[in-house]
Symmetry: C2
Subunit: 398 residues, 2 copies
């Protein structure tokens, strides 16, 4: 299932009137439009020429300082001090670009790259131009299987991992697993690339400390403003050990010279005076209510042999169809009923589970979630293999 096949599938989901659980689109209700409008006016009025000029590839200094301070603050709240020098922060054009830069400096043709099972599709796409060989490390609801990591670690360039509210599964790595993974990676000499776009979107409790805070010299950390402010500005960042920062910077310069200086200044302006600490709780509350609505709708509507998890934050939930069913085959039937999702097969480097699917609970409203989940359940009932019974809807609803 290659990227263009997925793009074609997802194009179907753009049809008017469709209820989409497919895209990883933040709810536009959370975008602080007024704050951006005020920041644009201020930046252009006070600093317009610099904001519109070429700028340093590293990024805008006040924004790098904010990132370093904010990560340090959050790590302290989670119980683990992490001192970051702003000189270790590189501003990227969305965190997707961080994946591209990391690929360029760490992957050669046929390099082994370790990934979770399943993992973020966009990472597989970003790494692929450098022609790595992916090795999928077994993973469960608590995260990476450390024994399987040890078995597969030899010669690996790095392990790519999303410990918080993972894309696609919504799983979070437990404290015990993080501790074990961090120790094992250090022992095995495997660098960790820690991707954390969803870490701020916890619903009830702050996640355990990051992997990077446990071993800053052995990790590259990636973050994003796409989920806490808005994705349309394309602003992300990475924090790298000083030993490899200059190589990442060189790759950044070659990739797009620098991330838009205007966008960096707008966001730095919006972030002044603790804005994020007032704003993000409103996103958490909204997304938690939408998660709850989706869980309730799934319980109400789905056949008994469809399963799913309960994410503690983030944007996604991971469901599994009954035996014998295939999520790719289900999609067109669902789209006929005006509901869309992403087949889970898209997120595996190899040996995909054809029964899984990713559902986003953040883009659609509660009302849309209720309608969409009912339609999806109907599509599942109608698509069941005949072998499962002549009256599948009735049988399964029992």
């Amino acid at each position: 299932m290659n990227p263009s096949v997925i793009r074609e599938i997802l194009k179907v989901t753009e049809k008017p009137g469709i209820l989409s659980f497919a895209g990883g689109l933040p709810s536009p209700r959370t975008f602080p439009i007024e704050a951006f409008a005020a920041a644009c006016a201020t930046v252009l009025h006070t600093d317009g020429r610099a904001a519109l000029q070429y700028a340093a590839s590293e990024g805008y200094a006040p924004l790098r300082e904010w990132v370093a301070a904010d990560l340090g603050r959050q790590s302290a709240l989670a119980g683990l001090p992490w001192h970051i020098d702003p000189a270790q922060v590189l501003i990227t054009t969305g965190s997707q670009q961080a994946l591209d830069l990391i690929a360029k400096i760490l992957i050669d043709k046929d390099s082994k790259v370790l990934v979770e099972t399943p993992t973020y599709l966009g990472a597989l796409q970003a790494f692929t131009p450098m022609e790595p060989v992916f090795a999928s490390v077994a993973s469960d609801a608590e995260g990476i299987d450390v024994d399987d990591l040890s078995a597969k670690a030899a010669g690996a360039r790095f392990l790519y991992v999303l410990p918080n509210f993972q894309n696609p599964t919504g799983h979070s790595m437990s404290e015990a697993r993080r501790a074990a993974l961090s120790a094992a990676a250090a022992r095995l000499g495997v660098p960790i690339v820690e991707d954390n776009p969803y870490g701020d979107l916890w619903f009830d409790a702050l996640p355990p400390p990051t992997l990077t805070a446990r071993n800053p010299d052995g990790c590259i950390y990636m973050g994003s403003f796409s989920k806490t402010l808005a994705p349309g500005l394309r602003l992300g960042f990475l924090v790298a050990p000083k030993s490899i920062y200059s190589k990442l910077l060189q790759a950044k310069q070659a990739a797009d010279l620098h991330t838009p200086s205007f966008n960096q200044r707008i966001v730095a302006e919006v972030l002044k005076d603790g804005f994020i600490e007032r704003h993000v709780p409103t996103i958490r509350a909204l997304y938690k209510s939408q998660r709850d609505a989706m869980l309730a709708a799934l319980s109400r509507e789905m056949p008994a042999d469809v399963t799913w998890n309960t994410p503690d934050g983030g944007m996604f939930l991971w469901a599994r169809l009954p035996e014998g069913m295939n999520a790719v085959a289900l999609l067109p039937r669902a789209v006929e009923k005006n509901v869309a999702f992403v087949p889970g097969a898209a997120f595996y480097a190899d040996n995909a589970d054809p029964r899984c699917l990713r559902l986003s609970f953040v883009t659609a409203s509660v009302e849309q979630i209720n309608i969409g989940v009912a339609a999806l359940a109907e599509a599942i009932r109608e698509s069941r293999p005949i072998l499962a019974g002549n009256e599948p809807a009735t049988v399964e609803a029992a």
Copy 2:
């Protein structure tokens, strides 16, 4: 002379009070700040949620349509019809990113890539991660030497060329040379990557038609809003044959998902109602006056055996030091006198000419140009090899 050496050299040029002819920075006096402020307010007010959301990797449809129409209009003015389907336009995060995407889809390790002598440093940097072998094609003031191209074309993946007001030399390719090059490339089966960031900045006459308009199926065209509106928004574009568009799109999606939707909408808003046709002539007039000032200052101040060209547009002028001198060695002496430039050696894939240097005439004001050129001439006189005479300043001024 690798990129990090250049970055270190150029850091010196950031010292306060320095007169810089080094960077390729457009004059901030040309940035339409008021138009951007109005566009930000309009876009956020009327279309804020879409402007801040994730968007299609291809780019914002109205902007793609504008690019297709504008290139067609300009080509017609230059005397050659060129019909572009907006579906062939890919919006990029600055035209630097177009180089990165092209490298990813056209270059494998050890692929031969043909470049001008000298050529744009940023292109060499963008291509390098894919590990090509560069072949420098001999070039003169009229452009690429077509015979040398024929001799070196075998097996080449593409030829990278800047026909208008080239970076670094300021040279423009003549109509005769364009016709010969286009025919030769088609005959040899060598695709052309045509980079045209400066084409709108002509001083007295519209340049001859582009290479791409002569053979659209054999070329990828790259353009930019950095020189006509502002670089800090990072907005560029490419036009590709339909046969390879989907591969470029896939690389674009993997690189940063899409170019900031907000920036694309702002620029589409600014471009309404013929803004560019009113705005760009003011840039041309300013840059022409600054070129004239630099030419006059060079004539007035420089030793007789320093040479330079007279660019018909763009941002750069190419100068050459007297025999035995070296521009890299000159730079620290110039910086001591508060003037900076880029040593020409940075722009050669191989066999650099150590005597050349690139001077930008667009960033500094006329007053600064006069002071800076005098200081540079003084640094040259003081740095001449002793062999050239005991009283070099006097001898050379003769």
